[in-house]
Symmetry: C2
Subunit: 502 residues, 2 copies
């Protein structure tokens, strides 16, 4: 097919993007349904469907006609808007990647993902790594292969890292994590030497219906419009955004843990605010959503920790918490609650880890992923290595795989290279805070007044509205200048020195 002019070529391009968006929307809702509602035994049909829908995306993108269309648009890039050029670039990247992945492998992988999710859940529930191991083996094998397809010039794990944060390398991360270790390990050591905070009241019995009420209260406090964002329940909390008016977050309620669901909701709420803040015009295109996983985690962890675990935020939400749980929190002052929420102590579960030790959990996963993808670690040895690293980094013994290497859903979802973005995102967030304070003055004074709108408006203006228009590192640099982990380590040092008086 020849294109008469840019206009007719763009019509075809938009139609193709509409189809891909629709298929991805379908796959996204099928996934959401699978982990929140679907019957336990329904995996087979969904796996076939996801395979077929993914296959259709594959065919659309890798169609030689599409390749010609993209070439034509690229040739005429000067006549396209900035956003259209970015759309073309993004599809071209997918196209190049896909053209290197044989279709049968692509389809097989997408079907594997669906089954691996069930196997991971079964394995976790029955505390049996051997149920998940054969799937993890296949997932690693596929991802090693895919890494070569994605970018044959990079080492395999670097190629995967690049999928979540363009330009990120093991070299950068090794240095970044070393910097974090230099700050965090001495802090953890010092804390061991002083009186530990009592947080036992957080583990009294907190009825789930009341926790649900608190979750909605937190969403409202964050300014999340519930006409466009709903909260569901799943084994592992996550966010799915389909467009800026259809975002889903999930949480998991534990009756004997007040903080777990509350901070999951605030974390996922941060992702949701990002997705909902994207410009309308990017909806239904690949520009909708965030610019990278690190940038996404910078937002979720900004709301969760920098805002959500601040003394000022606690002063806003604690009256409601007291109202919902008067007996459980009898005699617990706001300051005691604040300290409990920020108690720093090596623990087993990443999602429930405190802000200080959190990055150590990430490092364990980083080391294991790096070796799995690098071919230096066998899947069967993952539990042992996991437990060894928890001992080394956090000084604790892992009693079983359920609370060890089976705790996270990332690998079962095929994500290798995602974990480091949590740490990087945390550091991004601390640097953003500095810039925000220059523009807005005292941010925490606003938080204390329950005024999160100004903060969200600033983030929307600087980050959210741009969706995926810019490469993450470029966007970050535009807003914050050169990245420097020192902002984050300074933030941690200041916060924990004050809390523990060390």
């Amino acid at each position: 097919m020849k294109y008469e002019n840019i206009k007719s070529a763009l019509e075809v391009f938009d139609d193709i993007q509409g189809r891909i968006n629709a298929l991805n929307h379908g796959i996204g809702v099928l996934y959401l349904d699978a982990v929140t509602v679907a019957p336990k035994g329904s995996g087979e049909g969904r796996s076939l469907t996801m395979g077929a829908l993914s296959s259709m995306i594959y065919e659309i993108i890798s169609n030689p006609e599409n390749v010609r269309l993209l070439d034509y648009l690229e040739l005429n890039k000067d006549e396209l808007s900035e956003s259209k050029n970015r759309e073309v670039t993004l599809m071209k990247e997918s196209c190049t990647k896909l053209s290197r992945i044989p279709q049968d492998e692509y389809v097989e992988y997408n079907m594997l993902l669906s089954k691996a999710q069930d196997a991971w859940e079964d394995g976790k529930n029955s505390n049996d790594f051997s149920i998940f191991a054969p799937y993890l083996e296949k997932l690693v094998e596929f991802n090693r292969k895919f890494a070569g397809y994605y970018n044959p010039k990079l080492s395999k794990y670097d190629a995967l890292l690049n999928e979540y944060e363009e330009g990120l390398t093991m070299e950068t991360l090794d240095k970044f994590f070393a910097q974090l270790r230099e700050t965090i390990v001495p802090l953890i050591e010092k804390i061991k030497g002083v009186k530990q905070i009592d947080s036992s009241f957080l583990n009294k019995t907190y009825p789930i219906d009341k926790q649900r009420e608190l979750a909605y209260y937190a969403m409202d406090l964050m300014g999340i419009n519930r006409d466009y964002c709903v909260l569901s329940e799943s084994e592992h909390p996550f966010t799915s955004g389909f467009n800026n008016k259809d975002v889903r977050i999930t949480t998991h309620y534990y009756e004997n843990d007040l903080a777990s669901s509350l901070y999951s909701v605030i974390h996922e709420g941060g992702h949701a605010i990002y997705e909902m803040g994207c410009e309308d015009e990017y909806n239904f295109t690949p520009l909708y959503g965030g610019s990278s996983m690190s940038m996404h985690e910078s937002q979720s962890r900004f709301y969760e920790n920098i805002i959500g675990r601040s003394r000022e935020f606690i002063s806003c939400i604690y009256p409601k918490i007291k109202e919902l749980f008067p007996q459980q929190l009898e005699g617990v002052s706001q300051e005691e609650f604040y300290r409990a929420i920020n108690k720093a102590e090596p623990s087993l579960i990443r999602t429930e880890a405190d802000e200080l030790t959190y990055c150590m959990h990430v490092m364990v996963r980083y080391e294991i992923e790096k070796k799995l993808i690098g071919g230096e670690l066998q899947v069967k040895d993952v539990p042992e290595e996991w437990n060894r690293l928890y001992k080394e980094y956090l000084g604790i013994d892992v009693p079983d795989d359920r609370s060890g290497c089976l705790q996270d859903s990332h690998w079962s979802g095929g994500s290798f290279g995602y974990f480091p973005t949590y740490a990087l995102g945390s550091a991004y967030g601390a640097q953003m805070l500095k810039v925000m304070e220059k523009d807005l003055g005292n941010v925490f004074e606003k938080v204390a007044k329950g005024n999160l709108q100004e903060i969200t408006a600033w983030l929307k203006e600087k980050i959210h509205r741009h969706g995926n228009l810019y490469v993450s590192t470029k966007l970050f640099k535009n807003v914050c200048g050169e990245f420097d982990a020192k902002y984050y380590t300074d933030y941690l040092k200041k916060k924990y020195s004050e809390i523990y008086g060390i």
Copy 2:
């Protein structure tokens, strides 16, 4: 493309069916999500997605290559299995129909459906027919046009009826409904002359979490495997089956109505049992599911009324109900509960109508649909006509459109010609009971023992397992002989004469 042999042609055919099944599965889950979970304001994106996915189905089916393939397979029908032949016939029918519907109309209609659903909900919630009316107008207009496309030889409403029950006509229905009227109207009159049953205790306060527990108990009693079937909540109860291992039912809990949700669950559970009883080999093909809407309603209403409202079923479930609601049901005997559940009294809401007056509700809708599609009634006059017919058939005044012509979701879902299948299905069920009793002996003795397995096994053997292998009327005839509404009218006469002593 030329096909070398049947085998290669069938491979292409199966691939096409797999794609259609996947797209339909995606659309089905999007719909399910829309009415159970999705944020209120998320309609726009979903509407686009449903439009795009429907459009893909349209393209696959109406592709000239597919037409040639179907011709080739039809030419070689003697070499195909019975089920493969049926699959070819069904796709050929879709193909012929679709080839007559212009693609833009098809896509526009599918997007309209998604918006109409929201408008209907809004209209119902705010008791304002004018919100839904413009959508209903478009829906009627489309369906009038489609009727001509489906079968230009039939009158428009007959063509739509044919979509839900092959061969069904207004002539048959007019006669059938007249027969029902002859039985039901005198019974209603007689009941007016005797002391009415007290059912007020059914409208005490029944906490929803306990009702939920009862719903699961009822599902278990019915023998529904919850690994393959889950219960959700929606405005209007319905069943969606994706394959025999993935069936969803929904209900709506009302705190001041015990019977509403319970009998919705049993009704939808009947649909689910049908869907789950289909042969494995029909999964992911158009043979999966039921053979017609009437046949489907025969199963749901069989479980709901013939079984679920029998004295014997009540004897099984009432102890659990008493256990869940001891205060609300203090002093209420099993027999009093049975009579309350079967209280016959003209009322406003179809889904909550008793077994006796139910068909009068259907008749109102039938008359209105017939005239709307026939072009003899304007949408703006629907409320007035609705209220007039309720007065005429049931003797009651309709206070508002919320409990009048806005109560059902069928029209907003584009279903015109569906309602009569409820009445026809009820009559099918009564005739099946007769045949079942010949084979199994006293069916209700089994029910009294909580033994529904034998009943379900009989229905599975005779009806469920065949899925859509046979045209509904043929399947019915195979099992029950010639259809005769007398079995149903006799059943009603006997049941209500006994209950009311008339």
